[in-house]
């Protein structure tokens, strides 16, 4: 057998073991990176799934406001609120601002439908009934998808704050995503004046 010094044997042994430990470390870093990417894209996917419905709701809203304007001459404040929230959503800069306005709009719509109860002619209008049904359907779908979106955001936000992922998330500029919440004020049942 060829002469080999104890020092060289030690180098061989530690080189192989160290190499494997290095592979394990690199794999762990790649795994964390891949997980961050996956979580980020999960949030984007969940948001896209909601966004489609939110856009459809905005389109229906425009038609609803037009129908309501004809009958609800004395409810300009309620209608104005819906209109201004709609334009706020259309011009929203970021997802956080948009989500806040969407939550407020859901509450404003609830008030609008409650107030509409005071207008028998409006209630009897075929267009209004159809739009109301369509918007209620979209609201339910949004509520279902909101749960999934919030779950995705929650997973992402927790992960980017946890050790060791935070060590990678911070330098890569990963920021927490906003949750899709209904503002506290909008959760209350609308008060109606009879």
């Amino acid at each position: 057998m060829a002469k080999i010094s104890p020092h060289e044997v030690g180098i061989w042994l530690w080189a192989v073991t160290g190499g494997l430990i290095l592979i394990a470390l690199i794999s762990s870093i790649i795994s964390i990176y891949n997980m961050l990417i996956m979580l980020k894209y999960n949030v984007s996917k969940a948001w896209s799934n909601i966004d489609v419905l939110l856009k459809q709701r905005l389109d229906e809203l425009e038609k609803l406001v037009d129908v309501c304007k004809t009958y609800m001459k004395y409810e300009q404040e309620t209608l104005q609120k819906v209109i201004s929230l709609r334009s706020l959503i259309s011009n929203a800069g970021g997802v956080g601002e948009r989500l806040q306005a969407e939550g407020a709009l859901a509450g404003a719509l609830k008030t609008l439908f409650a107030v509409a109860e005071n207008y028998p002619d409006l209630k009897a209008d075929n267009n209004f009934a159809q739009l109301r049904q369509r918007i209620s359907y979209l609201e339910n779908e949004i509520a279902d998808r909101r749960e999934f979106y919030n779950e995705s955001v929650n997973l992402y936000n927790i992960k980017i704050a946890q050790i060791p992922a935070v060590l990678l998330a911070r330098p890569l500029g990963y920021q927490p995503s906003p949750l899709f919440e209904i503002p506290e004020a909008e959760r209350e049942n609308p008060k109606l004046a009879f």
């Binding site: 057998m1 030690g10 042994l13 073991t17 394990a24 795994s31 999960n42 749960e147 999934f148 779950e151």
Partner: protein
Amino acid sequence: MNGDEVFALAVIFLLLLAGLWLFFRSILRILPRIIWVAGTPTSPIRSLAIGLVEVTGKVKQKETIPSPATGLECCLTKYKLQELRVTQTRNGRTTSWHTTDSGFYSLPFYLQDKEGAQILIDPNDAELYLPCETYYPNTGLPTGAVGSIRYLEEAIYPNALLYALGEAKKKSRFADLNDEVNTELAILRGNPEKMATLDENKDGQIDTVEWEKTVRSAESRVAEETIAAAQNPLDTIVIAKPSAKRPFIISTRSEKEVLSRLRWKGYSTMILGLALVFFNLAGILGFFFNQPSFGKNYYKMVKLMVENIGR
């Protein structure tokens, strides 16, 4: 080199390969699973999207089969029947459990989430993370006596809490119809009482005409059920093995438990693999170069064990 030395070296070499296999298995197989389980958000069934999904809920049976271990109706069972036997070893007689029969049966089942929505799960080719239960059937012998039997079973029973990670996909209509008909006929074949009712001419046999009639009736029943079910869009979706290289995991444990077990398994496999590589590489170097000293000692220890086994 004598025979024992060659054998000891072969053992060390195999242990080195096993170490490498364990190490790379933890990195290439277990680590990605940890990412999939931890990174996939739980979907409400009502708003399930096509693609990789994670769902939790209660098992609701579609069809059931009797579990060989408990006799209870179940949706999936993986069992081993073992008998306690006496075996002769170098140190004398000892008793050990020998597997005399084993099997795996599974049927598609529904998963119902907390909102009451249901989705079909096809457990074929799933990675099952189920607790293994032991049952001792009454054989008249005391437990632990030679000749006594036991069942080791991993099963999914109706109403069990379930975690599933798999691909939600549209059911292929025709393939699905055939599958359903075949499942129905398989269940029928396994039930002698029901089979007896098919024997219309009472000649003690199911002839071709009688069997054809049964097949046609099963086909039309499945077709009617499929048309009725198609009213609900969720009934056209099934969670099954993903087509891409993604995991399909089913467990009666919670997501947290599945994750912690995967982590434990992943890290322990990686450390064990590393340790095996380190010591066995040292053993090989110790044999050829007499260095390092602990490697030489390790080789001697393996050689001693090999000699003891050979005696």
